[in-house]
Protein backbone atom coordinates (compact mmCIF):
# COMPACT_ATOMS: atom_id res chain seq x y z
CA UNK A 1 0.00 0.00 0.00
CA UNK A 2 1.10 3.52 -0.65
CA UNK A 3 -0.12 6.88 0.54
CA UNK A 4 0.54 8.49 -2.82
CA UNK A 5 -2.49 10.05 -4.47
CA UNK A 6 -2.80 10.90 -8.15
CA UNK A 7 -4.30 14.37 -8.49
CA UNK A 8 -6.14 15.32 -11.64
CA UNK A 9 -5.39 18.98 -12.20
CA UNK A 10 -8.38 19.23 -14.53
CA UNK A 11 -8.69 22.28 -16.71
CA UNK A 12 -8.04 25.83 -15.57
CA UNK A 13 -10.07 28.63 -17.08
CA UNK A 14 -8.18 31.75 -18.12
CA UNK A 15 -9.25 35.21 -17.01
CA UNK A 16 -5.97 37.05 -17.63
CA UNK A 17 -5.13 39.52 -20.39
CA UNK A 18 -5.50 38.55 -24.02
CA UNK A 19 -3.20 40.35 -26.40
CA UNK A 20 -5.40 39.92 -29.47
CA UNK A 21 -4.06 40.37 -32.99
CA UNK A 22 -0.94 42.19 -31.78
CA UNK A 23 -0.06 39.20 -29.59
CA UNK A 24 -0.69 36.80 -32.46
CA UNK A 25 1.54 38.79 -34.85
CA UNK A 26 4.29 38.98 -32.25
CA UNK A 27 4.08 35.20 -31.73
CA UNK A 28 4.43 34.57 -35.48
CA UNK A 29 7.38 36.96 -35.64
CA UNK A 30 9.18 35.29 -32.72
CA UNK A 31 8.48 31.83 -34.08
CA UNK A 32 9.81 32.92 -37.48
CA UNK A 33 13.09 34.12 -35.99
CA UNK A 34 13.43 30.91 -33.98
CA UNK A 35 12.63 28.78 -37.02
CA UNK A 36 15.25 30.31 -39.33
CA UNK A 37 17.87 30.06 -36.59
CA UNK A 38 16.86 26.48 -35.79
CA UNK A 39 16.03 27.34 -32.17
CA UNK A 40 13.76 24.80 -30.49
CA UNK A 41 14.45 22.43 -33.40
CA UNK A 42 16.63 19.37 -33.76
CA UNK A 43 20.41 19.91 -33.69
CA UNK A 44 20.85 19.32 -37.42
CA UNK A 45 18.56 22.26 -38.15
CA UNK A 46 20.86 24.54 -36.18
CA UNK A 47 24.09 23.57 -37.93
CA UNK A 48 23.71 25.41 -41.23
CA UNK A 49 22.36 28.79 -40.03
CA UNK A 50 24.74 29.03 -37.10
CA UNK A 51 27.71 27.99 -39.23
CA UNK A 52 26.98 30.86 -41.62
CA UNK A 53 26.54 33.31 -38.75
CA UNK A 54 29.83 32.25 -37.19
CA UNK A 55 31.59 32.54 -40.56
CA UNK A 56 30.16 36.05 -40.99
CA UNK A 57 31.44 37.20 -37.60
CA UNK A 58 34.85 35.59 -38.08
CA UNK A 59 35.13 37.19 -41.51
CA UNK A 60 34.54 40.63 -40.02
CA UNK A 61 37.27 39.99 -37.46
CA UNK A 62 39.61 38.79 -40.22
CA UNK A 63 38.91 41.93 -42.26
CA UNK A 64 39.82 44.07 -39.26
CA UNK A 65 42.94 42.00 -38.65
CA UNK A 66 44.06 42.47 -42.27
CA UNK A 67 43.47 46.22 -42.01
CA UNK A 68 45.48 46.36 -38.81
CA UNK A 69 48.35 44.21 -40.13
CA UNK A 70 48.63 46.02 -43.49
CA UNK A 71 48.32 49.38 -41.76
CA UNK A 72 51.31 48.50 -39.59
CA UNK A 73 53.37 47.75 -42.67
CA UNK A 74 52.31 50.60 -44.93
CA UNK A 75 49.32 52.83 -44.12
CA UNK A 76 48.68 53.74 -47.76
CA UNK A 77 48.13 50.08 -48.65
CA UNK A 78 45.06 50.02 -46.43
CA UNK A 79 43.15 52.04 -49.04
CA UNK A 80 43.35 49.03 -51.37
CA UNK A 81 41.78 46.64 -48.88
CA UNK A 82 38.01 46.27 -49.19
CA UNK A 83 35.95 47.89 -46.45
CA UNK A 84 32.20 48.38 -46.20
CA UNK A 85 31.30 47.97 -49.87
CA UNK A 86 33.57 44.97 -50.34
CA UNK A 87 32.19 43.39 -47.23
CA UNK A 88 28.71 43.56 -48.74
CA UNK A 89 29.90 41.40 -51.62
CA UNK A 90 31.23 38.82 -49.19
CA UNK A 91 28.13 38.90 -46.98
CA UNK A 92 25.72 38.81 -49.87
CA UNK A 93 27.27 35.44 -50.72
CA UNK A 94 26.72 34.19 -47.18
CA UNK A 95 23.26 35.69 -46.99
CA UNK A 96 22.27 34.15 -50.32
CA UNK A 97 22.98 30.71 -48.90
CA UNK A 98 21.23 31.64 -45.68
CA UNK A 99 18.17 33.00 -47.51
CA UNK A 100 18.00 29.95 -49.74
CA UNK A 101 17.64 27.94 -46.54
CA UNK A 102 15.66 30.31 -44.33
CA UNK A 103 13.13 31.78 -46.76
CA UNK A 104 11.49 28.48 -47.77
CA UNK A 105 11.57 27.30 -44.13
CA UNK A 106 9.53 30.33 -43.11
CA UNK A 107 6.61 29.69 -45.43
CA UNK A 108 6.59 26.20 -46.93
CA UNK A 109 6.19 23.93 -43.85
CA UNK A 110 3.26 26.00 -42.57
CA UNK A 111 1.51 25.52 -45.89
CA UNK A 112 2.36 21.92 -46.66
CA UNK A 113 1.88 20.60 -43.11
CA UNK A 114 -1.55 22.22 -42.77
CA UNK A 115 -0.45 24.58 -39.98
CA UNK A 116 -2.15 27.48 -41.77
CA UNK A 117 -5.49 26.07 -40.59
CA UNK A 118 -4.34 26.67 -37.01
CA UNK A 119 -3.02 30.17 -37.75
CA UNK A 120 -6.19 31.33 -39.44
CA UNK A 121 -8.49 29.92 -36.78
CA UNK A 122 -6.83 32.41 -34.42
CA UNK A 123 -7.25 36.21 -34.32
CA UNK A 124 -4.72 36.63 -37.10
CA UNK A 125 -5.21 37.97 -40.61
CA UNK A 126 -3.34 36.88 -43.72
CA UNK A 127 -1.66 40.28 -43.83
CA UNK A 128 -0.67 40.01 -40.18
CA UNK A 129 0.80 36.56 -40.78
CA UNK A 130 2.80 37.63 -43.83
CA UNK A 131 4.03 40.90 -42.32
CA UNK A 132 5.27 38.99 -39.27
CA UNK A 133 7.06 36.45 -41.46
CA UNK A 134 8.68 39.23 -43.50
CA UNK A 135 9.68 40.92 -40.24
CA UNK A 136 11.33 37.76 -38.97
CA UNK A 137 13.13 37.28 -42.29
CA UNK A 138 14.32 40.89 -42.43
CA UNK A 139 15.50 40.79 -38.81
CA UNK A 140 17.72 37.75 -39.21
CA UNK A 141 19.03 38.49 -42.71
CA UNK A 142 19.50 42.14 -41.80
CA UNK A 143 21.52 41.08 -38.78
CA UNK A 144 23.77 38.94 -40.99
CA UNK A 145 24.55 42.04 -43.05
CA UNK A 146 24.59 44.71 -40.37
CA UNK A 147 26.20 43.04 -37.32
CA UNK A 148 29.51 42.28 -39.12
CA UNK A 149 29.45 45.81 -40.58
CA UNK A 150 29.11 47.20 -37.05
CA UNK A 151 31.97 44.99 -35.91
CA UNK A 152 34.04 46.21 -38.87
CA UNK A 153 33.10 49.84 -38.27
CA UNK A 154 34.10 49.72 -34.62
CA UNK A 155 37.23 47.72 -35.44
CA UNK A 156 38.34 50.21 -38.07
CA UNK A 157 37.67 53.02 -35.61
CA UNK A 158 39.82 51.30 -32.99
CA UNK A 159 42.81 50.95 -35.29
CA UNK A 160 42.36 54.33 -37.00
CA UNK A 161 45.35 56.67 -36.79
CA UNK A 162 43.11 59.68 -36.26
CA UNK A 163 41.58 58.07 -33.17
CA UNK A 164 38.39 56.18 -32.34
CA UNK A 165 35.93 59.05 -31.95
CA UNK A 166 37.34 61.09 -34.80
CA UNK A 167 36.98 58.11 -37.14
CA UNK A 168 33.38 57.58 -36.07
CA UNK A 169 32.64 61.29 -36.49
CA UNK A 170 34.21 61.37 -39.95
CA UNK A 171 32.22 58.34 -41.10
CA UNK A 172 28.73 59.10 -39.88
CA UNK A 173 27.35 58.45 -43.38
CA UNK A 174 28.07 54.74 -42.81
CA UNK A 175 25.24 54.71 -40.29
CA UNK A 176 22.63 55.19 -43.02
CA UNK A 177 24.43 53.85 -46.08
CA UNK A 178 24.85 50.37 -44.63
CA UNK A 179 21.18 50.00 -43.55
CA UNK A 180 19.87 51.38 -46.87
CA UNK A 181 22.09 49.03 -48.89
CA UNK A 182 21.06 46.15 -46.63
CA UNK A 183 17.40 46.98 -47.27
CA UNK A 184 18.04 46.87 -51.03
CA UNK A 185 19.54 43.37 -50.75
CA UNK A 186 16.80 42.15 -48.42
CA UNK A 187 14.05 43.57 -50.66
CA UNK A 188 15.31 41.82 -53.80
CA UNK A 189 16.29 38.51 -52.26
CA UNK A 190 13.25 38.45 -49.99
CA UNK A 191 10.89 39.20 -52.87
CA UNK A 192 12.25 36.32 -54.92
CA UNK A 193 12.39 33.75 -52.14
CA UNK A 194 8.93 34.60 -50.75
CA UNK A 195 7.32 34.42 -54.19
CA UNK A 196 8.92 31.04 -54.84
CA UNK A 197 8.07 29.72 -51.38
CA UNK A 198 4.43 30.66 -51.88
CA UNK A 199 4.05 28.20 -54.75
CA UNK A 200 6.73 25.50 -54.35
CA UNK A 201 6.02 22.70 -51.87
CA UNK A 202 9.58 21.43 -51.29
CA UNK A 203 12.09 23.59 -49.43
CA UNK A 204 15.04 22.10 -51.33
CA UNK A 205 13.49 22.85 -54.71
CA UNK A 206 12.59 26.39 -53.62
CA UNK A 207 16.19 26.95 -52.47
CA UNK A 208 17.56 25.68 -55.79
CA UNK A 209 15.08 27.79 -57.76
CA UNK A 210 16.08 30.86 -55.73
CA UNK A 211 19.78 30.42 -56.38
CA UNK A 212 19.08 29.56 -60.02
CA UNK A 213 17.04 32.70 -60.63
CA UNK A 214 19.66 34.92 -59.05
CA UNK A 215 22.74 33.42 -60.67
CA UNK A 216 21.57 31.92 -63.95
CA UNK A 217 18.88 34.57 -64.39
CA UNK A 218 21.40 37.38 -64.13
CA UNK A 219 23.76 35.71 -66.60
CA UNK A 220 21.01 34.99 -69.14
CA UNK A 221 19.53 38.48 -68.82
CA UNK A 222 22.98 40.00 -69.38
CA UNK A 223 23.53 37.90 -72.52
CA UNK A 224 20.14 38.70 -74.00
CA UNK A 225 20.62 42.39 -73.26
CA UNK A 226 23.85 42.31 -75.29
CA UNK A 227 22.17 40.60 -78.27
CA UNK A 228 21.53 43.95 -79.92
CA UNK A 229 17.95 43.56 -81.15
CA UNK A 230 15.44 46.35 -80.62
CA UNK A 231 14.64 46.73 -76.95
CA UNK A 232 17.08 44.01 -75.92
CA UNK A 233 18.70 46.29 -73.38
CA UNK A 234 15.58 46.14 -71.22
CA UNK A 235 16.31 42.48 -70.55
CA UNK A 236 19.21 43.65 -68.43
CA UNK A 237 16.67 44.78 -65.84
CA UNK A 238 15.79 41.12 -65.29
CA UNK A 239 19.20 40.61 -63.71
CA UNK A 240 17.51 41.21 -60.37
CA UNK A 241 20.53 40.34 -58.25
CA UNK A 242 22.49 43.20 -59.88
CA UNK A 243 20.16 45.97 -58.70
CA UNK A 244 21.13 45.98 -55.00
CA UNK A 245 24.78 45.73 -56.02
CA UNK A 246 24.37 48.85 -58.17
CA UNK A 247 22.87 50.63 -55.14
CA UNK A 248 25.79 49.44 -53.03
CA UNK A 249 28.29 50.69 -55.62
CA UNK A 250 26.50 54.01 -55.71
CA UNK A 251 27.16 54.46 -51.99
CA UNK A 252 30.52 52.78 -51.55
CA UNK A 253 32.21 53.20 -54.93
CA UNK A 254 32.12 51.21 -58.16
CA UNK A 255 33.54 47.70 -58.38
CA UNK A 256 32.33 46.27 -61.68
CA UNK A 257 29.77 47.32 -64.28
CA UNK A 258 26.66 45.22 -63.82
CA UNK A 259 24.27 44.27 -66.62
CA UNK A 260 21.78 47.12 -66.10
CA UNK A 261 24.67 49.62 -66.01
CA UNK A 262 26.17 48.17 -69.18
CA UNK A 263 22.75 48.56 -70.80
CA UNK A 264 22.85 52.25 -69.94
CA UNK A 265 20.46 52.39 -66.99
CA UNK A 266 21.04 54.87 -64.17
CA UNK A 267 21.03 53.93 -60.51
CA UNK A 268 17.51 55.32 -60.04
CA UNK A 269 16.21 52.71 -62.49
CA UNK A 270 17.64 50.01 -60.25
CA UNK A 271 15.93 51.60 -57.24
CA UNK A 272 12.61 51.60 -59.12
CA UNK A 273 13.21 47.98 -60.19
CA UNK A 274 13.85 46.95 -56.57
CA UNK A 275 10.67 48.65 -55.34
CA UNK A 276 8.62 47.23 -58.23
CA UNK A 277 9.90 43.71 -57.59
CA UNK A 278 9.16 43.95 -53.86
CA UNK A 279 5.64 45.29 -54.45
CA UNK A 280 4.87 42.71 -57.14
CA UNK A 281 6.07 39.89 -54.90
CA UNK A 282 4.08 41.20 -51.92
CA UNK A 283 0.88 41.39 -53.99
CA UNK A 284 1.42 37.93 -55.44
CA UNK A 285 2.16 36.28 -52.09
CA UNK A 286 -0.79 38.06 -50.48
CA UNK A 287 -3.12 36.94 -53.28
CA UNK A 288 -1.87 33.37 -52.95
CA UNK A 289 -2.30 33.24 -49.18
CA UNK A 290 -5.73 34.87 -49.22
CA UNK A 291 -6.83 31.99 -51.41
CA UNK A 292 -5.24 29.46 -49.06
CA UNK A 293 -6.70 30.91 -45.85
Amino acid sequence: MTDQVLYDRGYRTYDGPRLGTAGARKAVYKDGVRRVLGLGRKARQKIFPWSLIVIAIIAAAVFIGIHWAIGNIEESLRQQIPTYGGLFDFYSGISLLFIALAGPQLLIPDRTKGVLSVYFSRPLTVDGYLVSKVGAFATVVGAIYIVPQIVLHLGLALIAEEGFLTYLGDNLDILWKVPVTTMAFIAVHGAVVFALSAVIDRTGIAAAAFLGILFAGAAVAGRVAEAGFAGSRYFALLAVDHHPRIVRDHFFGDTVAYAPEQAGFEVWVSVVAIVALAVASALFVRYRYRRLA
Binding site: R9, G10, Y11, L19, A24, G114, S117, F120, S121, L124
Partner: protein
Amino acid sequence: MVGLGQSRPPILEVSDLTHDYGEVVALSGLSVEVPTGVIGLVGANGAGKTTLLRLMLGLLHPTSGSLQVLGHDPQQEPLVVRSRIGYMPEGDCLPKDQTAADFVSYAAQLAGIPPREAKRRSSETLFLVGLEEERFRFLGDFSTGMQQRVKLAQAIVHDPDLLLLDEPASGLDPEGRTQMLDLIKRLSTFDINVIVSSHVLTDIEQTCDWVIMLDAGNLLRNGPLKGFEMLGTVLVEVLERPEEVAAAIRAEGVDVAVDGMRMVVGPGDETIEPLVLAAAAASGSGLVRMIRGSSSLEDLFLERETAT
Protein backbone atom coordinates in the same frame (compact mmCIF):
# COMPACT_ATOMS: atom_id res chain seq x y z
CA MET B 1 -20.70 21.52 -16.68
CA VAL B 2 -22.17 22.65 -19.97
CA GLY B 3 -25.46 20.94 -20.60
CA LEU B 4 -28.15 21.60 -23.13
CA GLY B 5 -28.85 25.23 -22.46
CA GLN B 6 -32.11 26.16 -24.19
CA SER B 7 -32.51 29.12 -21.83
CA ARG B 8 -28.97 30.39 -22.48
CA PRO B 9 -28.13 32.35 -25.67
CA PRO B 10 -27.55 29.98 -28.58
CA ILE B 11 -23.93 29.38 -29.59
CA LEU B 12 -24.90 29.30 -33.25
CA GLU B 13 -27.73 30.95 -35.14
CA VAL B 14 -27.92 30.29 -38.86
CA SER B 15 -30.48 31.93 -41.07
CA ASP B 16 -31.18 30.82 -44.63
CA LEU B 17 -27.47 30.19 -45.18
CA THR B 18 -26.28 29.18 -48.62
CA HIS B 19 -22.71 28.66 -49.74
CA ASP B 20 -21.54 27.42 -53.08
CA TYR B 21 -18.19 26.70 -54.70
CA GLY B 22 -19.23 27.72 -58.19
CA GLU B 23 -21.42 24.91 -59.50
CA VAL B 24 -21.25 22.91 -56.28
CA VAL B 25 -23.71 23.96 -53.59
CA ALA B 26 -22.18 23.05 -50.23
CA LEU B 27 -24.97 24.45 -48.04
CA SER B 28 -28.44 25.27 -49.23
CA GLY B 29 -30.80 27.54 -47.29
CA LEU B 30 -29.68 26.24 -43.91
CA SER B 31 -31.48 27.63 -40.86
CA VAL B 32 -30.67 26.31 -37.40
CA GLU B 33 -30.41 27.53 -33.85
CA VAL B 34 -28.02 25.58 -31.65
CA PRO B 35 -28.00 25.68 -27.84
CA THR B 36 -25.00 25.40 -25.55
CA GLY B 37 -23.62 21.94 -24.84
CA VAL B 38 -21.90 19.23 -26.84
CA ILE B 39 -23.32 19.36 -30.35
CA GLY B 40 -22.91 16.75 -33.04
CA LEU B 41 -22.65 17.84 -36.66
CA VAL B 42 -23.44 14.76 -38.68
CA GLY B 43 -23.37 14.01 -42.36
CA ALA B 44 -21.68 11.96 -45.01
CA ASN B 45 -18.52 13.26 -46.67
CA GLY B 46 -19.48 16.30 -48.73
CA ALA B 47 -22.56 17.04 -46.64
CA GLY B 48 -21.31 20.55 -45.87
CA LYS B 49 -19.96 20.05 -42.34
CA THR B 50 -16.50 21.50 -42.88
CA THR B 51 -17.96 24.33 -44.95
CA LEU B 52 -20.21 25.24 -42.02
CA LEU B 53 -17.25 25.17 -39.62
CA ARG B 54 -15.19 27.39 -41.95
CA LEU B 55 -18.11 29.80 -42.28
CA MET B 56 -18.28 29.93 -38.48
CA LEU B 57 -14.59 30.89 -38.38
CA GLY B 58 -15.11 33.61 -40.98
CA LEU B 59 -12.75 31.84 -43.38
CA LEU B 60 -15.51 31.53 -45.99
CA HIS B 61 -18.16 34.05 -46.90
CA PRO B 62 -21.78 32.97 -47.36
CA THR B 63 -23.24 33.22 -50.84
CA SER B 64 -26.43 34.34 -49.10
CA GLY B 65 -27.98 34.27 -45.66
CA SER B 66 -26.27 34.96 -42.35
CA LEU B 67 -24.94 33.34 -39.21
CA GLN B 68 -24.08 34.42 -35.68
CA VAL B 69 -21.49 32.59 -33.58
CA LEU B 70 -21.53 33.35 -29.84
CA GLY B 71 -23.58 36.43 -30.70
CA HIS B 72 -21.12 37.77 -33.30
CA ASP B 73 -21.21 37.78 -37.07
CA PRO B 74 -18.03 36.05 -38.26
CA GLN B 75 -18.17 37.99 -41.53
CA GLN B 76 -18.17 41.34 -39.75
CA GLU B 77 -16.05 40.44 -36.72
CA PRO B 78 -13.94 37.42 -37.68
CA LEU B 79 -11.14 38.17 -35.25
CA VAL B 80 -13.55 38.60 -32.32
CA VAL B 81 -15.16 35.26 -33.12
CA ARG B 82 -11.83 33.48 -33.63
CA SER B 83 -10.44 34.78 -30.34
CA ARG B 84 -13.27 32.88 -28.59
CA ILE B 85 -13.09 29.69 -30.63
CA GLY B 86 -10.78 26.70 -30.57
CA TYR B 87 -10.51 24.75 -33.80
CA MET B 88 -9.21 21.24 -34.33
CA PRO B 89 -8.90 20.68 -38.08
CA GLU B 90 -9.54 17.30 -39.63
CA GLY B 91 -6.29 17.11 -41.56
CA ASP B 92 -2.69 17.38 -40.53
CA CYS B 93 -1.86 20.69 -38.83
CA LEU B 94 1.26 19.98 -36.80
CA PRO B 95 4.80 21.16 -37.58
CA LYS B 96 6.87 18.01 -37.28
CA ASP B 97 10.04 19.84 -36.22
CA GLN B 98 8.61 21.33 -33.02
CA THR B 99 8.07 19.76 -29.61
CA ALA B 100 4.51 19.33 -28.38
CA ALA B 101 5.12 21.80 -25.55
CA ASP B 102 6.51 24.45 -27.89
CA PHE B 103 3.73 24.09 -30.41
CA VAL B 104 0.87 24.18 -27.91
CA SER B 105 2.46 27.17 -26.19
CA TYR B 106 2.79 28.84 -29.59
CA ALA B 107 -0.87 28.07 -30.35
CA ALA B 108 -1.84 29.77 -27.08
CA GLN B 109 0.21 32.84 -27.99
CA LEU B 110 -1.47 32.94 -31.39
CA ALA B 111 -4.73 33.28 -29.47
CA GLY B 112 -3.32 36.25 -27.55
CA ILE B 113 -2.22 34.55 -24.32
CA PRO B 114 1.00 36.18 -22.99
CA PRO B 115 4.11 33.98 -23.46
CA ARG B 116 4.74 33.04 -19.82
CA GLU B 117 1.11 32.05 -19.23
CA ALA B 118 1.08 30.27 -22.58
CA LYS B 119 3.93 28.02 -21.47
CA ARG B 120 2.18 27.21 -18.22
CA ARG B 121 -1.11 26.43 -19.93
CA SER B 122 0.69 24.35 -22.55
CA SER B 123 2.01 22.03 -19.84
CA GLU B 124 -1.36 21.82 -18.10
CA THR B 125 -3.25 21.14 -21.30
CA LEU B 126 -0.84 18.44 -22.43
CA PHE B 127 -1.24 16.89 -18.99
CA LEU B 128 -4.99 16.96 -19.46
CA VAL B 129 -4.83 15.13 -22.80
CA GLY B 130 -2.43 12.57 -21.36
CA LEU B 131 0.84 13.72 -22.95
CA GLU B 132 2.65 15.05 -19.91
CA GLU B 133 5.53 12.59 -20.35
CA GLU B 134 5.90 13.19 -24.07
CA ARG B 135 5.56 16.96 -24.17
CA PHE B 136 9.22 17.61 -24.95
CA ARG B 137 9.32 15.14 -27.81
CA PHE B 138 9.21 16.32 -31.42
CA LEU B 139 5.81 16.05 -33.08
CA GLY B 140 7.30 14.17 -36.02
CA ASP B 141 8.00 11.28 -33.63
CA PHE B 142 4.37 11.07 -32.41
CA SER B 143 1.88 8.34 -33.30
CA THR B 144 -1.42 9.27 -34.93
CA GLY B 145 -3.25 9.01 -31.63
CA MET B 146 -0.74 11.28 -29.89
CA GLN B 147 -0.95 13.78 -32.74
CA GLN B 148 -4.75 13.87 -32.42
CA ARG B 149 -4.32 14.66 -28.72
CA VAL B 150 -1.91 17.50 -29.52
CA LYS B 151 -4.40 18.83 -32.05
CA LEU B 152 -7.03 18.82 -29.32
CA ALA B 153 -4.62 20.45 -26.85
CA GLN B 154 -3.83 23.33 -29.23
CA ALA B 155 -7.56 23.89 -29.68
CA ILE B 156 -8.36 24.19 -25.95
CA VAL B 157 -5.16 25.72 -24.57
CA HIS B 158 -6.49 29.30 -24.72
CA ASP B 159 -9.72 28.51 -22.84
CA PRO B 160 -12.15 29.02 -25.72
CA ASP B 161 -15.91 29.48 -25.25
CA LEU B 162 -16.60 27.23 -28.21
CA LEU B 163 -14.61 24.33 -29.55
CA LEU B 164 -14.95 23.14 -33.14
CA LEU B 165 -13.71 19.58 -33.66
CA ASP B 166 -13.57 18.37 -37.24
CA GLU B 167 -13.53 14.55 -37.29
CA PRO B 168 -11.59 14.33 -34.00
CA ALA B 169 -11.38 10.53 -33.95
CA SER B 170 -10.28 10.25 -37.56
CA GLY B 171 -7.50 7.71 -38.10
CA LEU B 172 -7.55 6.38 -34.54
CA ASP B 173 -7.64 2.73 -33.54
CA PRO B 174 -10.60 1.59 -31.35
CA GLU B 175 -8.77 2.25 -28.10
CA GLY B 176 -7.58 5.67 -29.24
CA ARG B 177 -11.08 6.49 -30.47
CA THR B 178 -12.58 5.64 -27.08
CA GLN B 179 -9.99 7.76 -25.29
CA MET B 180 -10.57 10.70 -27.61
CA LEU B 181 -14.36 10.50 -27.16
CA ASP B 182 -13.92 10.32 -23.39
CA LEU B 183 -11.79 13.45 -23.54
CA ILE B 184 -14.42 15.26 -25.57
CA LYS B 185 -17.14 14.24 -23.12
CA ARG B 186 -14.95 15.54 -20.34
CA LEU B 187 -14.61 18.95 -21.96
CA SER B 188 -18.27 19.66 -21.30
CA THR B 189 -17.51 19.49 -17.58
CA PHE B 190 -15.13 22.44 -18.04
CA ASP B 191 -17.82 24.80 -19.35
CA ILE B 192 -16.61 24.53 -22.94
CA ASN B 193 -19.23 24.27 -25.65
CA VAL B 194 -18.28 21.80 -28.33
CA ILE B 195 -19.37 21.21 -31.90
CA VAL B 196 -18.15 17.81 -33.07
CA SER B 197 -18.24 17.24 -36.79
CA SER B 198 -18.21 13.58 -37.73
CA HIS B 199 -19.52 11.12 -40.24
CA VAL B 200 -19.18 8.33 -37.66
CA LEU B 201 -22.57 8.39 -36.02
CA THR B 202 -21.66 6.18 -33.09
CA ASP B 203 -19.10 8.82 -32.06
CA ILE B 204 -21.87 11.39 -31.95
CA GLU B 205 -24.16 9.06 -30.01
CA GLN B 206 -21.46 8.58 -27.39
CA THR B 207 -20.52 12.22 -26.92
CA CYS B 208 -23.28 14.64 -27.88
CA ASP B 209 -26.57 15.78 -26.48
CA TRP B 210 -27.74 17.70 -29.56
CA VAL B 211 -27.48 16.74 -33.21
CA ILE B 212 -27.46 18.68 -36.47
CA MET B 213 -27.86 16.32 -39.43
CA LEU B 214 -26.78 17.51 -42.85
CA ASP B 215 -27.20 15.79 -46.17
CA ALA B 216 -25.81 17.28 -49.39
CA GLY B 217 -25.97 20.77 -47.91
CA ASN B 218 -29.53 20.41 -46.65
CA LEU B 219 -30.70 20.16 -43.06
CA LEU B 220 -32.16 16.77 -42.21
CA ARG B 221 -32.68 17.30 -38.53
CA ASN B 222 -31.70 19.67 -35.73
CA GLY B 223 -32.63 18.66 -32.21
CA PRO B 224 -31.72 16.88 -28.99
CA LEU B 225 -30.20 13.43 -29.35
CA LYS B 226 -32.70 12.08 -26.86
CA GLY B 227 -35.52 12.87 -29.26
CA PHE B 228 -33.74 10.93 -31.99
CA GLU B 229 -33.47 7.84 -29.84
CA MET B 230 -37.15 8.01 -28.95
CA LEU B 231 -38.14 7.83 -32.60
CA GLY B 232 -37.39 4.10 -32.72
CA THR B 233 -39.85 1.20 -32.96
CA VAL B 234 -41.45 -0.73 -30.10
CA LEU B 235 -41.58 -4.52 -29.97
CA VAL B 236 -44.87 -5.76 -28.46
CA GLU B 237 -46.02 -9.28 -27.62
CA VAL B 238 -49.63 -9.98 -26.61
CA LEU B 239 -51.41 -13.06 -25.23
CA GLU B 240 -54.30 -13.04 -27.72
CA ARG B 241 -56.12 -11.13 -30.48
CA PRO B 242 -53.05 -9.43 -31.97
CA GLU B 243 -54.97 -8.20 -35.05
CA GLU B 244 -57.48 -6.34 -32.87
CA VAL B 245 -54.70 -4.69 -30.92
CA ALA B 246 -52.88 -3.77 -34.16
CA ALA B 247 -56.05 -2.33 -35.68
CA ALA B 248 -56.62 -0.14 -32.63
CA ILE B 249 -53.06 1.19 -32.88
CA ARG B 250 -53.29 1.72 -36.67
CA ALA B 251 -56.48 3.71 -36.07
CA GLU B 252 -54.27 6.27 -34.31
CA GLY B 253 -52.05 6.59 -37.41
CA VAL B 254 -49.13 4.50 -36.18
CA ASP B 255 -47.57 1.73 -38.31
CA VAL B 256 -47.81 -1.85 -37.03
CA ALA B 257 -46.30 -5.03 -38.49
CA VAL B 258 -47.85 -8.21 -37.01
CA ASP B 259 -46.01 -11.54 -36.80
CA GLY B 260 -47.98 -14.11 -34.77
CA MET B 261 -48.45 -12.79 -31.26
CA ARG B 262 -45.69 -10.27 -31.78
CA MET B 263 -45.82 -6.93 -33.50
CA VAL B 264 -43.45 -4.08 -34.27
CA VAL B 265 -45.06 -0.72 -33.60
CA GLY B 266 -43.74 2.57 -34.93
CA PRO B 267 -41.40 4.26 -35.49
CA GLY B 268 -42.60 6.95 -33.17
CA ASP B 269 -41.89 8.89 -30.01
CA GLU B 270 -42.75 8.11 -26.38
CA THR B 271 -46.52 8.35 -27.05
CA ILE B 272 -46.43 4.85 -28.58
CA GLU B 273 -46.20 3.01 -25.27
CA PRO B 274 -49.41 4.47 -23.73
CA LEU B 275 -51.14 3.88 -27.06
CA VAL B 276 -50.21 0.17 -27.00
CA LEU B 277 -51.38 -0.16 -23.40
CA ALA B 278 -54.71 1.44 -24.25
CA ALA B 279 -55.17 -0.72 -27.37
CA ALA B 280 -54.40 -3.92 -25.45
CA ALA B 281 -56.79 -2.96 -22.66
CA ALA B 282 -59.56 -2.08 -25.15
CA SER B 283 -59.12 -5.46 -26.91
CA GLY B 284 -59.04 -7.35 -23.64
CA SER B 285 -55.66 -8.79 -24.52
CA GLY B 286 -52.90 -9.40 -22.04
CA LEU B 287 -49.53 -7.76 -22.66
CA VAL B 288 -46.54 -10.15 -22.42
CA ARG B 289 -43.84 -7.60 -23.11
CA MET B 290 -43.19 -4.18 -24.60
CA ILE B 291 -39.59 -3.18 -25.47
CA ARG B 292 -38.44 -0.08 -27.27
CA GLY B 293 -35.97 -1.01 -29.99
CA SER B 294 -32.57 0.60 -29.65
CA SER B 295 -32.37 1.97 -33.16
CA SER B 296 -29.11 3.76 -33.67
CA LEU B 297 -28.62 7.25 -34.97
CA GLU B 298 -27.17 5.60 -38.04
CA ASP B 299 -30.43 3.75 -38.73
CA LEU B 300 -32.37 6.96 -38.43
CA PHE B 301 -29.90 8.86 -40.60
CA LEU B 302 -30.05 6.24 -43.34
CA GLU B 303 -33.83 6.09 -43.06
CA ARG B 304 -34.17 9.84 -43.41
CA GLU B 305 -31.63 10.04 -46.19
CA THR B 306 -33.59 7.42 -48.11
CA ALA B 307 -36.83 9.26 -47.45
CA THR B 308 -35.43 12.48 -48.89
